[in-house]
Symmetry: D2
Subunit: 341 residues, 4 copies
């Protein structure tokens, strides 16, 4: 990457938050048992049980989002059981067929602002009636969604109800769960969210860690033998304690939420400025992602100063692009970016 | 783990070598493109191509050994093609069926001191004659083996020849490749080893990194689309640059080999002392693992001062145990351990 | 099933055509080598090579359509490679996730009258750009389609061209290939169709056999080791000669095409009558399936005399139903059916 | 095959028993609902429930042995669960990795006369202690074994007990179950055998049918959604009624057992003659397979008159060969064969 650019490319392009790095440094000279069986990891798992209000949950520290999703689905579903997800879901588009490689079909429902609606989930279930078709058994949604939007309590409750009606597990891909819970648009607490799900993961990679996601298995029926699956899929890190340490640091004194809140604030400021400049947005900004559409001229101008992603090909209204803020984005950077419009 | 114990449990129970941690720290404030597409990773890959004498090799930084093995095998073999490996191979015993979960049968050959012999590989191939049986297509060996022994040039050459005769790829699991190459018993250079293989990986987790293995695909026919497979199996780390940075640091000024050599030296000293004390060894010590057999009384005495692994159940000759040395093991520790016998 | 009903339920509800049964009977007392290695099977395979104008094709006799599709896809594709098919394709809807269970994602394109269009295939390929997404590698279409329509030469040529442009194999699910080739709407010969494909299968189950499909692998690059895959997926019938005998009988003197042509004729007569009676059709009748929409009253009346399938739930225009004709359907039955409208 | 040869090659080289063919012929003109949902199939399933003394069993008619095994294992086991079987088991040697392709590891135990012993099963279970290894969950044995031997009640009871102790399902591959139950060496009734198992299949292909195996799922916990798996693996025959009809015919008036008993009798006569001629046998003849060892001279002489299989390469004691008798083998043929020694 060029030096001196403002970085709105994504939220995973630097090492880690200083307090995470310090926690690793503080472990210098300590010795840990392998594969996440150490005491630091156990303590962090217990902290997460407390934080999520799930004293009996299975908590597993995983190496990344795709790996978490494919391992959980392998563990939870039988071969003929399918996952329902919005068309735009990461598992459906950006995981190179990881779920299918694990043997499971993904049934898609329309994504409205990135979100699945209960009525469409019901329709998908109703359409699968016999043994000539897969059996829908899990609803997978992302919080925040791939468009940076968030499910409200009412929306999540409706999805929980349709899952109960049709016998589906509700699984939340929380790669950006911090930003979701800190969103102005979200009226859910961590505990409430947990209560609506069978399992979900708390993303670390995109909110300050070197790497790692914390999977919380709320439904006790899904807990058994999970570590076998993690090992079988190649995700049981020899130095598993690295994950326990990092998550321990990021949840200390609410740092996780502080970082996510800051990222959201920066995105909100960016959005306010863009709206003021009458730049068309492609989705409502509800977390740390801002989707906008720019002319070719603007695109070229931005590209000289800012790192960002082109979200799709140029259309009639211009080129869709994405700005992602993070715990590292500063007020000055936001001001500089807005100065380019 | 209890404080103050001498740690011979394994070679992956502390964070990382200081120079690795410093390299990560030095990246503070830098921004990297995602998924290992960054320049630091590219430079390290190039260094590994140079180090291995394979200027056209595919080099991929992977998250762990089991994941490397299952991804490579998924990429290299068709569904009916099988892996031949020694009975004691890690993939056969300690990967929770990861290879089978990827769809491939493992055919075992006897392991003599942990090593496969060409004649047994030939027999296994000869026994598979038609479409009612799987088709052997890859020989997988570990260097060092699961018993800490090493293949010599002559042994590896013989295996390469039998692979050529029967159309097998030769793949080397190098979780402890540093210790193998630094072994007194090994007359192979990195370049020579590479030249005999179709692919192999250079283990980082057990020789000073936080985590990570470097897969080197020597055979150009096996290179295509490999990153698709890494992503599909959930191993394409968002912050892939962390692997490029770590391997960059460990290969700088030969640190990788220095650490491995030290571990071997410590094991050699331990071994010399044990032999002097007439303690029966279960295998020749050729790298950083020492296998011995102890009485119940000795076992109890050792367990108060040393962390180590019980390798098998108590037999007539006593209980088999394993000592693993690492770059952190000191002369003082070795002396203390020997003082207990 | 109730006696005396007119059977328009499907084309696989009786044993087999008399000449097929006679051929099996004629084999009484003969002894055959196992697993399709017999001379009768070899002769039939050779006849199919001749019939399709593919002297070097791999010809394999398979036990059923779903099994053929999943085995072929397992054999032809690497794990990250995906199948493109129309949304309504049998593999996507009615095979209980068989393709995903074999590890491959299905990418759907819109189905217009059951058919994929080249432009949509191109769009699907263009949308898959890197290793975060699956790699489209095969286009699978059905001839006839799931709506009984057929691809013309021009349409198939256009699909072949888009496949060539994007490096896709073209595979034709020919469960009802006889009816397709005998369709008035189809200007393709068997040889021409074969020439456009990499592989296709000629359906036997739905056109007079007890069971069986003949897979023709036109592309020599896809032929290797195919029998290993058939065996691995459980489809290498011990008495494989039963398939060679049946296909031998059905292709003798053009019986296969005669039966398909008759089924088409009966559907055409039905259709003409329904149009005359101003019954709305849901698709153009181009082969042996007729899709119509009936009022609740008509539905009840038909259900007393005819066996047929309700294709979807009742909508505003009535209930969609399907009539399937076969080699057994008679003029009298058609007249009786039309008398009910 | 050459005409006029005596056929001891295998028990699946002719079409079917006349009464089976007649039953199919008798269905001429009848119409059946698809996929085994017809009344003939239901009646046969009920007859099998009665015959096996399992009034609540799931009964499924399958297309072949390998397909039955892979489908059952897919349905019964989670991904990390493994099958224990004797080293010589068909699933381990002669199914082209079908079980591994379905994702499951096979753990082998020594085969003594083709049979697993409880003590070895216990050892295999004891050796698998944690999540780094697969979890043994099913014992699969063949009755008769691959060497034609049979498990006695005592042996089966001991295996059931070890299964109960270690939480394994007990599954019996009954490709030649008729010959097992009719064996002089077997003191088990069909009901007793069923009572010891969680599931087993009754082989039809090798005892008079065109094709087909009847899977009986005794354990109610394993019954759910099984038809989904059959369809997903490509084994739900459109004309499933063909299997119901054939099994209906073969179980009528005990024909199944009569045919198997005859095959056993012929093998017993052959064996008596061979023993009289001092020909070394490789295994005790307990059913319809006779394993013997012959000199090169004898081999050549036999090969002129008899079709048989060479079981292994020539060794010091000669060439191991196999004679298989069937319901079609005659006293005259046995006499002729013995005349050649």
């Amino acid at each position: 990457m060029k030096m001196g650019m403002i970085n709105l490319m994504n939220d995973y392009n630097t090492t880690a938050h200083p307090r995470v790095l310090e926690a690793i440094k503080a472990a210098d000279g300590k010795r840990f048992t392998g594969y996440g069986t150490d005491e630091a990891t156990a303590a962090t798992a217990e902290a997460i049980r407390s934080l999520t209000g799930c004293p009996d949950a299975g908590v597993h520290f995983m190496i990344g989002g795709t790996h978490t999703n494919l391992t959980a689905i392998s563990a939870f579903l039988r071969p003929h059981e399918a996952v329902v997800s919005p068309l735009s879901a990461h598992i459906n588009v950006h995981e190179t067929g990881a779920i299918e490689a694990a043997g499971h079909k993904i049934l898609t429902v329309p994504a409205e602002a990135g979100k699945a609606k209960a009525v469409d989930v019901a329709l998908a279930c109703e359409a699968h009636t016999d043994e000539h078709m897969v059996k829908p058994k899990m609803l997978l949604i992302s919080q925040t969604t791939e468009l940076g939007t968030v499910y409200t309590r009412e929306e999540l409750k409706a999805l929980r109800e349709v899952c109960d009606e049709y016998g589906l597990y509700l699984y939340v891909d929380g790669a950006r769960l911090g930003c979701a819970l800190m969103s102005e648009a979200c009226d859910l607490s961590m505990e409430e969210l947990a209560g609506y799900t069978d399992a979900f993961y708390i993303g670390g990679t995109k909110n300050g860690l070197l790497f790692g996601e914390a999977l919380v298995i709320v439904n006790p029926a899904l807990c058994s033998d999970f570590r076998f699956l993690v090992k079988q899929r190649g995700g049981l890190l020899a130095k598993g304690f690295l994950l326990g340490i990092q998550f321990g640091a990021i949840f200390e004194n609410g740092l996780y939420f502080e970082l996510a809140g800051h990222a959201n604030d920066m995105a909100a400021k960016l959005t306010a400025g863009l709206i003021g400049a009458k730049i068309p947005l492609l989705a409502k900004t509800e977390s740390n992602q801002v989707f906008l559409c720019v002319s070719r001229e603007t695109l070229d101008r931005l590209a000289e100063k800012i790192l960002f992603e082109r979200w799709a090909r140029e259309g009639e209204a211009g080129t869709p692009i994405r700005f992602v803020t993070s715990w590292q984005t500063t007020d000055e950077e936001v001001a500089s970016v807005l100065g380019l419009f």
